[in-house]
Subunit: 484 residues, 2 copies
């Protein structure tokens, strides 16, 4: 297949597509409502025809759209309209569209299909694509699918299902075109012509020996430009970037970025070719990863269908809110310890959120830097101490600058110089705490093999809240004699 969609001159704009579908749906609903309201049989008939006409038009519009565009439209429609549009999509396109929609929307579409429809949809797909859908398919459909496949495909599906989510094995496909090293380019070309077409994103062929072991790759470029009489062995590239199925997908994505790859062979421990990784799978993975980072920073468990039910949304947001509740309770109890002090000087209650808030912001800045540096492999035992020193210096300097500002603010408001000094001291100490924890938390999580991005923001904010309240109210208690 070519990767050239045969339908759009300039690239399609999702908003244009959506406008078109929505305006047809609106006409359809308008008519449906009319039919519903007016119970006269004559009207019913006429309106029913108009109604059908809109649906037919919608049908044509959808047929002309690229599957990825249909997917975007489905994601942007509320559940009722979504299922109406989904019914209008040709059954043989169901599989490819299911692959394109987000997890949450896929779930809603699959729920509306029976086992036969699902089986038919899955059978239009490649093994690696079926594996991508599998987590959302009912067990009986997967069983039926496994039985319907031939031995090689069944084995591939089973192994594809066995790879962990963030591994190269889960991203790779099986569309590799292989040739032998001992033939001429001319022979290889004749073989290709018999295939009629090459898989998407084929920029190189894989050269394997009799046992399926990878000997090199033959870029299509060389096949085109080199002498047809030459042997594959003499023209192929022997030093190749290869991956293992169990490799981390993030590392593979970085290798694709660094070396500007379009496709790369995946080999097993004995160097036998088992699959291929393509840049489009890598791009999807990068997008999905950056999405899930953003979601977890905001405290969402997973991608949410914006039109999912209220109850589903509550569940999705539950986990982080619960953690946040615990940290808020702790902060509350820290303040509770100092109720006496606050009773003596109520101004402290008004000032304390400043210390906690700016500490949280500064801690989040530090932790984001460190999480990124860890992800990019920039942190090394040798330079970790340098980083610590730097972050602590930044915090100390910021503490002096911002601390004197908040101190001045407190002094001007309440006319007590000692209160200003306590604010300044507390601010500096809380920024130092934020810096130390902002470096330590992700480094420790990394050391113990956890993803430092997940929950780091919640953790650092918890520390700077409770810590900030403790430092500020503690200092105020110590120096209460001068504050009264």
């Amino acid at each position: 297949m070519d990767d050239t969609p045969e339908k759009s001159k300039a690239h399609d704009n999702i908003e244009d597509n959506l406008d078109q579908v929505v305006s047809l749906l609106r006409k359809h609903h308008l008519v449906a409502n009319l039919v519903h309201k007016q119970d006269m049989p004559h009207h019913d008939l006429v309106e029913g025809l108009v109604h059908k006409q809109h649906l037919a038009e919608l049908h044509t519009v959808l047929d002309d759209m690229h599957p990825a565009d249909v997917a975007r439209v489905l994601e942007a429609l509320p559940l009722g309209d979504r299922l109406l549009v989904w019914d209008l999509v040709k059954a043989e396109r169901d599989g490819e569209i299911l692959l394109e929609v987000s997890d949450a929307v896929r779930e809603s579409l699959i729920k509306s299909m029976d086992s036969d429809e699902l089986l038919a949809a899955a059978e239009t797909l490649d093994t690696d694509e079926i594996a991508d859908l599998a987590p959302d398919l009912p067990q009986d459909v997967i069983q039926d699918l496994l039985e319907s496949l031939d031995a090689q495909k069944r084995a591939r599906l089973q192994s594809a299902l066995s790879y962990p989510e963030d591994s190269v094995g889960a991203l790779m496909d099986y569309d590799m075109v292989t040739i032998r090293a001992d033939v001429t380019l001319e022979v290889a070309l004749r073989y290709l012509r018999r295939l009629k077409e090459l898989p998407d994103q084929t920029d190189k062929l894989f050269v394997v020996d009799r046992d399926g072991a990878l000997r090199g790759v033959m870029p299509l470029q060389r096949l085109l430009l080199q002498d047809p009489e030459a042997k594959v062995a003499d023209v192929m590239a022997e030093e190749v970037v290869t991956f293992r199925p169990q490799d981390d997908a993030t590392d593979a994505a970085q290798a694709f970025e660094r070396y500007d790859l379009v496709s790369a062979p995946v080999v097993d421990a004995r160097n036998r070719l088992v699959g291929r990784l393509t840049v489009n799978a890598v791009v999807d993975y990068i997008r999905q990863e950056s999405d899930s980072d953003m979601l977890s920073i905001a405290g969402l468990r997973e991608d949410e269908d914006i039109f999912s039910s209220v109850w589903k949304s509550v569940q999705n947001r539950w986990a982080w809110l619960a953690i946040n509740l615990v940290t808020a309770f702790i902060a509350s109890r820290v303040i509770g310890m100092f109720e006496n002090t606050i009773g003596k000087l109520v101004a402290l209650a008004a000032l304390m959120p400043i210390i906690a808030g700016i500490g949280g912001n500064s801690g989040n800045q530090t932790i984001t830097m460190i999480v990124r540096a860890l992800a990019l492999g920039q942190i090394h035992p040798d330079n970790a101490r340098k980083l610590f020193t730097k972050e602590i210096s930044v915090a100390a300097l910021n503490g002096l600058i911002w601390g004197s500002m908040v101190g001045l603010f407190a002094y001007l408001l309440y006319g007590k110089p000692a209160l200003g000094l306590v604010m300044m001291g507390a601010m500096t100490l809380n920024l130092l705490l934020a810096a130390v924890m902002g470096v330590s938390i992700p480094m420790l999580m990394h050391k113990f093999g956890r993803d430092p991005a997940v929950g780091s923001s919640v953790l650092i904010t918890a520390v700077t809240d409770s810590g900030g309240f403790f430092i500020f109210l503690g200092l105020a208690t110590l120096f209460m004699a001068y504050l009264g």
Copy 2:
């Protein structure tokens, strides 16, 4: 050029590279220190030799590395070591390595080079690559460069420099291979063989007419598989995804993802070919965008060199801390309005951060959802109201659930049922506020053409903090009679 790096069998691990360089550097420093400490001339000589030997070894190691790998190593080294390694890199590789390093690190490297070195480095690059470096180059180097280029390249560089940062024009390159429609594939192939090699990421040739207008594209696949006697016009794909230089880069990136493109032509208003966009430029752009989203969420102005000076870091973090300071002052004054109430019941001071904190978390969840949906084009005037209703329902339900928990907590701690009810009411109201503002803020920013991602988290937190304190302390003041 092939995109197959000729050096690594399995993909290189940045940590291995870094380990190797660091251990050589460590040996080097060790020796340098010894030389420094022992002032005997004999030792000096011997150690000096050993010292040179380590540097020579480092030289070899660096020469064998892919430019992208050298870039990663430079980013992970503190300034002193970084410049030492940079000096060891062959001058003719300076240009390609400067392209690969992050903006902040590039700045530090460029600062260490004189005009002649910079000019020499830039002259090894393509026009579009020079344009990428240009913002960091001194004005006199750019002038010298413009003078050294031929007329076509100068015109290209000037137009490349004129495109805004997030446009297709800024991402595109000029490595297009063009053919005519009226020749046979055989003739086209002969022409290609004369070129000897094709630019990276060439998966299609561009078919243009006499005036340079795009008539179609010829995928390399078709060139390989179709009858060599056929005319280009009969084999080429005429419906092509094309871009304009002024198109938004984000839209282009989404089109690459949707249609799994490897390269695409960029045309002007009269459909004349002006450049080409490739998937590697798109991948870099996606990575950079998701990075800058994360940075702005955390309140960092830009990508930071983790080893930059303390003063530079303070400046980078300054802007958001200042905004945060203003919002914290406002929240503090809101509390200040209720000092009387807090004076009567100090427990309120301990409980108020719970209301503000959970409101902020919930608001950030909503705003993240909406920002993503806007970016994906999922929000449409027709469904905006549905979204509002849904988010408000989720907030109301969460308010009841979490509100009763915090209410119970307050009641158990302080033994006052009315305090529990005030907590529950304040929590529900603050979550509703968070939902309304979490939907409205990004929608309004989007409507007025601003990027809804930037600063949204700071804004929503400001609203839920000040709003939460106001609601909670206001309710407490109203019902003080029952709380005393």
